[in-house]
């Protein structure tokens, strides 16, 4: 039981009431209301109340006891629209079958951190959401106590009914809600002990599932509003190029085309947010009646492009200084790899140094050195970038898929010179996020276009626009060195990591803290290609590389790979080196022991081609054992066993779904996916040239096991993704006898096997 300050002023509560009851012009009607669809009850439509009463801004209670809970954070497929309201419902003591979930609009007066990123929604929502539920419950109980003139301590609540122990009086939340709404918001509330949880820890179905499987409009791309026009962009064909001239006359006369013009999304003097990343601020825009018409007009446009010499000059200088000839500052993938191999490490900066690594390496009996690399990746959310905007009459209404509504609102405010109060942002369910929708340039573009047209528009990216737009997962490289003494003991460890155009290094993660002599260095090479956070940023490469290296190291040292890691973690736990280590060695070891047990590692490791890996990121620990076989040189992933420590598991079946998805996604990208460049142009622009993992390539079986430790929950959207790439590389080694250093692994497999299909 813990007491928490509610921190909810009367003001924020009142303000939210006015907002929810008509302040928004679009209203909630387009998005619809979702009831919590429980098994067996899916046909029961909830009866809507005559009147709603807002409590705390997080929820409202109908006079018939139905409860609407606003889910504050963007839903990108991580299932927070179900799991976050579960936290509120738990403390409210309400029947989940009587709960309707609505996506909350951006509302900084009531909610904090309305953002989907870093696997933080549940971790950071854990207290505020339960607090909101407990606060509303307290207000309801207080109202009942006042009505019955009994002390509140004699009241209890269960499934939306308040009971008085002294008499057999009881009253439903719906009947007392009106009175409760007038109660002063308490300053402090008490939260439940974990052992009392009735909803948290039980599997609840996705609240949007029924709408999804019946094809109801839920996504930004589905938005259709009266008078709405379709807008599309044309961007430069290569990074480092810009618009020279355009002939739009013919196109303007095409059927359904309303206008063709250029925009500058981010003028130079505009103060930008971190989320305003784009390589192409200057765009050609085509606006028309329907998507197909605009697509045709786009193709018919005559546009001349030019080198942006300001951008290309720097790259040319960089390449020349390295003795490499590029294409006049337009970037190429082979040059990228040369720069990473030869130029990057020379620019290294020390980030962490323990003991005396230089002397340990000098005195080593043996030094093992390996380098790993990965390509750029596109996020490829299945729903391409899009946004609805209606900027008319001094107001901006924005509706669509965005992971960072609060930052996007600021950007729009600065770009259009509008007050924040005049901008409303509502979030649709998103067809994937993976970090791509953190960067809301498309929302700003939509706002600028709508303002220019003086009409509501929906901006739509084609898949090709989406895939060649940049904001990519960077290309990375890391070199590991390990020093062994004459007795095969590990005496020093050196990690040197960098990328285009950021480094993937986490200097304070394992094995830092487990080795006396340790050196971590970092570098980055500049580029015109925009980069962004991609599911488990930086970890999404370096975890696999590190876990591959540890595997090879264990083999060189003649140790079992799990025991080798456990021995190092024991050292980090008992006698850590340095103070900055950002992981808990005991929890780390916990998932390794669990996966060893669940996968039967000690019993059948010799007969199966299996690899193991473990990683800590985004506050959660994941270990995976992957079993692979080759069928005509095609990799067949027979099974992945996962052990996860994310503390309390709020919604178990949904958590398993996340682990399965992250595992498949991690394998797919390490094996198959790649963005390459020729003369600045992205060479993959759709799923015929860009490979995503498909059904037949997915693991035949995935098992997810969770550590049950009662620790406050952490996230799951990202943590299962990174380590499985290491487990995959290590299993591939067992299957082929070759180590895999360069992603995507399919290239090496194909070269090894000759006739692998892509």
């Amino acid at each position: 039981m813990s007491k928490v300050k509610t921190g909810m002023g009367r003001r924020s509560f009142i303000r939210n009431v006015s907002l929810a009851s008509g302040g928004l012009i679009i209203g909630f009607s387009w998005l619809g209301c979702k009831r919590a669809a429980e098994e067996g009850t899916e046909e029961m439509a909830l009866e809507m109340p005559d009147e709603w009463f807002e409590l705390t801004g997080y929820l409202k209670i109908g006079d018939n006891g139905i409860v609407t809970i606003y889910s504050p954070n963007p839903e990108i497929g991580q299932n927070v629209k179900t799991s976050m309201p579960m936290l509120v419902a738990e403390e409210l003591d309400v029947d989940w079958n009587n709960v309707i979930v609505e996506q909350a609009p951006l509302n900084t007066d009531v909610f904090t951190r309305q953002l989907a990123g870093g696997s933080q929604s549940i971790r950071q929502g854990w207290e505020p959401l339960r607090m909101a539920g407990a606060t509303a419950r307290q207000m309801l109980l207080t109202a009942a106590a006042n009505q019955w003139e009994v002390p509140i301590s004699e009241l209890s609540a269960d499934k939306g009914i308040i009971n008085h122990t002294g008499s057999d009086r009881s009253i439903g939340y719906g009947e007392i809600a009106k009175a409760a709404a007038k109660i002063e918001v308490p300053e402090e509330v008490v939260l439940k002990e974990n052992s009392k949880f009735k909803i948290i820890g039980t599997s609840r179905k996705n609240v949007d599932a029924k709408e999804i499987v019946t094809g109801q409009p839920l996504y930004g791309l589905d938005v259709q509003l009266d008078g709405m026009l379709i807008a599309m962009i044309v961007q430069p064909p290569a990074f480092g190029m810009e618009l020279k001239s355009m002939d739009a006359d013919e196109v303007k006369g095409m059927p359904g085309i309303k206008d063709v013009f250029t925009i500058d999304t981010y003028p130079e003097d505009m103060e930008k947010e971190w989320s305003d990343t784009t390589s192409f601020p200057k765009l050609v825009v085509v606006v028309g009646d329907s998507t197909w018409q605009v697509m045709q007009a786009k193709k018919a446009l005559k546009i001349e492009w030019d080198l942006n010499t300001e951008l290309t000059k720097q790259i040319e200088i960089l390449e020349k200084s390295a003795g490499l000839s590029g294409s006049g500052g337009l970037e190429n993938t082979d040059v990228h790899y040369s720069l990473m191999a030869e130029v990057g490490p020379k620019k290294s900066e020390m980030v962490r140094r323990d003991g005396n690594p230089e002397s340990a390496f000098k005195n080593a009996a043996r030094v093992i050195e390996r380098s790993y690399s990965c390509p750029f990746l596109a996020h490829n959310c299945m729903e391409p970038m899009n946004f609805f905007a209606n900027v008319t009459n001094g107001k901006a209404e924005l509706l669509g898929p965005i992971q960072t509504p609060e930052f996007a609102e600021k950007s729009v405010s600065k770009r259009l010179g509008m007050d924040l109060e005049d901008i409303d942002i509502q979030m649709t369910r998103m067809g994937g996020g993976f970090g791509r929708r953190l960067y809301g340039h498309f929302l700003v573009e939509a706002a600028v276009i709508s303002q220019k047209m003086g009409a509501p528009i929906k901006l739509v990216y084609t898949r090709e626009d989406d895939m060649t737009n940049g904001v990519y997962r960077p290309a990375y490289q890391v070199t590991y060195r390990a020093a062994l003494d004459g007795n095969n003991n590990l005496t020093a460890f050196h990690v040197n990591a960098g990328g285009i155009s950021e480094s993937p290094l986490f200097a304070n993660r394992f094995p830092a803290g487990a080795i006396d002599n340790y050196l971590a260095e970092s570098w980055a090479i500049e580029s015109n290609i925009s980069i962004g956070a991609f599911r488990a940023p930086r970890s999404n490469f370096i975890a696999g590389a590190e876990q591959s290296f540890l595997d090879e190291l264990a083999e060189e040292m003649g140790k079992d790979p799990i025991q080798f890691r456990l021995d190092m973690l024991k050292r980090a736990e008992n006698d850590p080196v340095g103070e900055e280590n950002d992981y808990d060695p005991a929890r780390y070891a916990g998932v390794l022991k669990m996966v060893r047990d669940k996968a039967g590692w000690d019993n059948n490791s010799s007969t199966l081609n299996r690899g193991v890996a473990a990683y800590y990121c985004h506050n959660s620990y994941v270990a995976q054992v992957l079993d692979i076989s080759l069928k005509n040189n095609d990799p067949v992933i027979d099974k992945v066993t996962c052990a996860v420590d994310c503390g309390i598991v709020v919604n178990p079946d949904a958590a398993i779904n996340m682990v399965e998805g992250g595992t498949i996604d991690g394998i797919g990208h390490a094996l198959y996916s790649e963005i390459t460049f020729k003369d600045g142009a992205t060479q993959q622009n759709n799923f015929d040239s860009y490979r995503l993992i498909r059904h037949e390539e997915a693991p035949k079986k995935i098992e997810a096991h969770f550590v049950d430790n009662g620790i406050d929950p952490t996230g799951l959207g990202e943590p299962p993704f990174p380590p499985v790439q290491g487990a995959l590389a290590n299993a591939l080694y067992k299957a082929t006898g070759e180590r895999f250093y360069k992603q995507p692994f399919i290239t090496q497999l194909r070269n090894a096997g000759g006739d692998l299909k892509t």
Binding site: A37, E39, E42, E43, I76, G77, N79, K205, N206, D208, A209, K210, I212, V213, T214, G215, Q216, P217, L218, Y219, L221, D222, Q224, I230, P255, S290, T291, W292, Q296, C381, M382, E383, P384, R429, M430, G431, G432, G433, F434, R463, A654, N657, M658, E660, G661, G662, I664, D665, N686, F687, D688, L692, I693, R694, H695, E696, A698, P699, K701, I702
Partner: protein, 154 residues
């Protein structure tokens, strides 16, 4: 522009569009049936899958002029109350993550089961290989197809 009469989900619809307009955009932009999704436009992702006389086709590749009097079924028309065995199996297994690909997956699965009511693992993998899920729900999709198959209702 030309006039077309098509039958979608058992309903006759009349519209005037460019004959080359893919069925996908006719459904989404002109007939207010946005359940059929756009993912690639080049027959690679399966998000736009609908049934043409009961067979799965990619609506992004089917010009409206080629529809003629063939019966089109979209996700909105797969069942009256969202209770097609495949939809039920999807709910039972709580398959969707972001959910964007799922209409296409369900339409492919329903067509697969119609032609092959007891598919093997390999049949499922082959039949579903044209439907991409970036979220990685493949294992659940397979389990749900097996449930729907076992239910013998398809």
């Amino acid at each position: 522009m030309a006039e077309f009469n098509v039958t979608i989900n058992g309903e006759k619809r009349r519209l005037e569009v460019d004959p080359n307009t893919p069925l996908l955009w006719v459904l989404r932009d002109h007939l207010n049936l946005p359940g059929t999704k756009y993912g690639c436009g080049v027959a690679q992702c399966g998000a736009c899958t609908v049934h043409l006389n009961g067979n799965a086709v990619r609506s992004c590749q089917l010009p409206i002029s080629a529809v003629a009097d063939n019966e089109i079924t979209t996700i909105e028309g797969l069942s009256e109350n969202g209770d097609h065995p495949v939809q039920k199996a999807w709910l039972e297994h709580d398959v969707p993550q972001c959910g964007y690909c799922q209409a296409g997956q369900i339409m492919s699965a329903a067509a697969l089961l119609k032609n092959n009511p007891s598919p093997s693992d390999e049949d499922i993998e082959n039949g579903m290989n044209g439907n991409i899920c970036r979220c990685g729900t493949y294992t659940r999709i397979k389990a749900a197809i097996k449930s729907a198959s076992d239910s013998k209702l398809v």
